[in-house]
C-alpha cells in the first residue's frame, strides 16, 4: 500500500495533503503560542519552558518536544519531496506553451510552488535564528525567547523575511486547505463554499496572528 501511494500521482498528492494538514495543525498551535508574547516576558518564557517539560513525569524531559520535532521534520521532508516530484511530472506533461497566453491559468500552481520554496527557505532561516541562534542578530540566549524575538524583529531584514514568509504561508494555506479536502475525497459541489470560506478564514487568522508579533515589536507594543 505504501508503494501504491508513493508511485501514483494521486497517492503522492495524498501524502502532500496529509503532511500539509499536519503542518497546518502545528501552525495553528504555534500561532496561538506566539500570541503569549503580548502577556509579558514571564508568561512567554514560562510557556517556552513548559514546551520542554510537557508530558512529564510520564515522558522524560524534552521527549514530547522531540516527538513533535521528528513528526514535523518527517512532514516537511515528505511534503517537499512530493512537491518536487509532482511538479516535475506536471512540467514534463506540458513542455510547450501556448502562443496565445492566458495568465490566470497557472495562478494557484505558481503561488503553491514559489510560496513553497519561500517557506522552505524560511523554515531553515527561522530555526537557525530562533532555535539554534546561529544567525541571530543580538546576543542569542537559549531559555530567553522573549528577548530573542525582540532582537530579531528589531532588524529590518528580520521583519522583511518573516512577513514575506507569512504572506506566502497565508496564500499557501488558502489554496492548500481546500486542495487537501479535494485530494482526500471530501470535495462536493454542495460543500465547496463552506470549504473555501474555512480556508480563507484559516489563512487570514494565521497570517494576522503571526504577523501581529513583528508589528507589535516594531510599533513598541511589545518591548
Amino acid at each position: 500500500m505504501t508503494r501504491t501511494l508513493w508511485d501514483s500521482s494521486v497517492g503522492k498528492k495524498t501524502i502532500m495533503a496529509v503532511s500539509g494538514l499536519i503542518m497546518l495543525l502545528y501552525l495553528v498551535v504555534h500561532m496561538v503560542g506566539n500570541l503569549k508574547i503580548f502577556f509579558g516576558s514571564d508568561e512567554f518564557n514560562g510557556y517556552a519552558h513548559w514546551l520542554r517539560v510537557m508530558g512529564e513525569p510520564f515522558l522524560h524531559h524534552e521527549w514530547a518536544l522531540w516527538i513533535v520535532r521528528v513528526v514535523l521534520v518527517a512532514a516537511v521532508v515528505l511534503h517537499a519531496v512530493s512537491a518536487y516530484q509532482l511538479s516535475r511530472r506536471d512540467l514534463r506533461a506540458r513542455p510547450s506553451k501556448y502562443v496565445h497566453k492566458k495568465p490566470r491559468a497557472s495562478y494557484a500552481t505558481n503561488t503553491m510552488r514559489y510560496g513553497g520554496i519561500i517557506m522552505a527557505l524560511f523554515i531553515v532561516w527561522h530555526i537557525l535564528d530562533l532555535t539554534t541562534g546561529t544567525v541571530h542578530s543580538g546576543g542569542f540566549q537559549s531559555g530567553h525567547p522573549y528577548q530573542n524575538v525582540i532582537d530579531t524583529f528589531s532588524t529590518w531584514y528580520g521583519n522583511v523575511i518573516y512577513i514575506v514568509a507569512m504572506l506566502a504561508m497565508g496564500l499557501h494555506v488558502q489554496h492548500g486547505f481546500w486542495s487537501a479536502a479535494q485530494t482526500l475525497g471530501a470535495g462536493r459541489a454542495t460543500r465547496d463554499r463552506a470549504l473555501k470560506t474555512l480556508a480563507n478564514v484559516l489563512a487570514l487568522v494565521l497570517t494576522v496572528g503571526f504577523v501581529s508579533v513583528p508589528v507589535a515589536v516594531m510599533t513598541g507594543v511589545v518591548s
Binding site: 500521482s9 494521486v10 498528492k13 511530472r89 506536471d90 506540458r94 494557484a108 479535494q182 470535495g187
Partner: protein
C-alpha cells in the same frame, strides 16, 4: 466578416511548427467555427497550398473529435465544442489564434491534429463493465437509486474530447479519468470492477505521462459537457478506498 487567422502549422510529429497568418473574407456570422476553417481550406486548396489539418466528425457536439485552442481557450470562448461554436462569437476584423491541444501525452500529428489515443488506453484499462451476453435484460432488472443514476449520467456526458487536458497548466487528465471512473463506479453494473477500475485507469493515466492535479480548475471551466471539478475529488475518494481494499 473579414478575419485574420494565426494558425499553428506543423508538417508532422517530428517537424518544428510555427504560427502562420492567413486572411479570410466573406465569413458569415451564422457559420460554425469549423465551416470558417473549411472556407480557409477551400482557398488554400485553390491556391495550391496544403490545407490546414484539423479533427472533426459529428459536427453536432456529441462525438468529441473536434478540438482547437482558440485565443488561448480550449474549444474557444463559449462553453461548447468547437463544432458548435459560431462566428457570431467574434467581431469583424478580429485576429484569431488557433493552436492544437498541447500536452506531451497528446503529440501533434499534423497542424491542429493531435494523437489522443492515450485516452483510449485509459478506457481500455478499466472503462468497461463485465456483462453477460444474451438477450437484453429488462430495464428494471437492476434498480438504481435516482441520485446515483443522475450522478452516473452527469459523468457519462464526457465525450473524451481532451479539452480538460489542453486547458490544464499541468496537462492533467484527471477530469476525463474521473468522469469515466465515476460514471461506472456508482452503478451496480460497475460494482464488480469498482476497485480495479479506478486503480488501473489512474495507473494508465500516470504512465501515459499526463500531469497531476493542482486544482486550478481550468479543466472544468473548459469542459464543453460541464463535468464539474468535484468529480476529481470523488475519484480520489474511490482511489483511496480501493487502495485500502485491494492489496497488490
Amino acid at each position: 466578416m473579414k478575419l485574420t487567422l494565426r494558425v499553428w502549422r506543423q508538417k508532422n510529429a517530428g517537424a518544428p511548427g510555427a504560427m502562420s497568418t492567413y486572411e479570410v473574407d466573406g465569413i458569415s456570422q451564422d457559420m460554425s467555427f469549423l465551416e470558417m476553417l473549411d472556407t480557409l481550406n477551400e482557398e488554400l486548396i485553390l491556391e495550391g497550398d496544403d490545407p490546414v489539418a484539423f479533427d472533426h466528425d459529428c459536427r453536432e457536439g456529441i462525438c468529441g473529435a473536434c478540438s482547437l485552442v482558440i485565443n488561448g481557450d480550449a474549444h474557444g470562448p463559449e462553453r461548447t465544442t468547437t463544432c458548435q461554436l459560431h462566428m457570431r462569437s467574434f467581431e469583424d476584423g478580429d485576429t484569431i489564434d488557433i493552436e492544437p491541444w498541447r500536452a506531451s501525452a497528446f503529440p501533434v500529428v499534423k497542424d491542429l491534429v493531435v494523437d489522443r489515443s492515450a485516452f483510449d488506453r485509459i478506457i481500455q484499462a478499466g472503462g468497461y463493465i463485465s456483462a453477460p451476453t444474451g438477450t437484453a435484460p429488462d430495464a428494471h432488472a437492476t434498480p438504481v437509486p435516482k441520485p446515483d443514476a443522475d450522478f452516473a449520467f452527469e459523468h457519462a456526458e464526457c465525450i473524451g474530447c481532451g479539452a480538460c487536458v489542453a486547458a490544464c497548466p499541468n496537462g492533467s487528465a484527471m477530469l476525463f479519468t474521473s468522469a469515466k471512473v465515476n460514471h461506472l463506479n456508482v452503478l451496480p453494473q460497475g460494482a464488480p470492477e469498482r476497485e480495479t477500475r479506478v486503480l488501473d485507469m489512474v495507473g494508465q493515466m500516470d504512465s501515459e505521462g499526463f500531469g497531476g492535479c493542482t486544482l486550478t480548475g481550468e479543466c472544468a471551466t473548459a469542459c464543453p459537457k460541464g463535468i464539474p471539478l468535484p468529480s476529481i475529488s470523488a475519484m480520489n475518494k474511490e482511489w483511496l478506498r480501493a487502495t485500502r481494499k485491494v492489496h497488490r
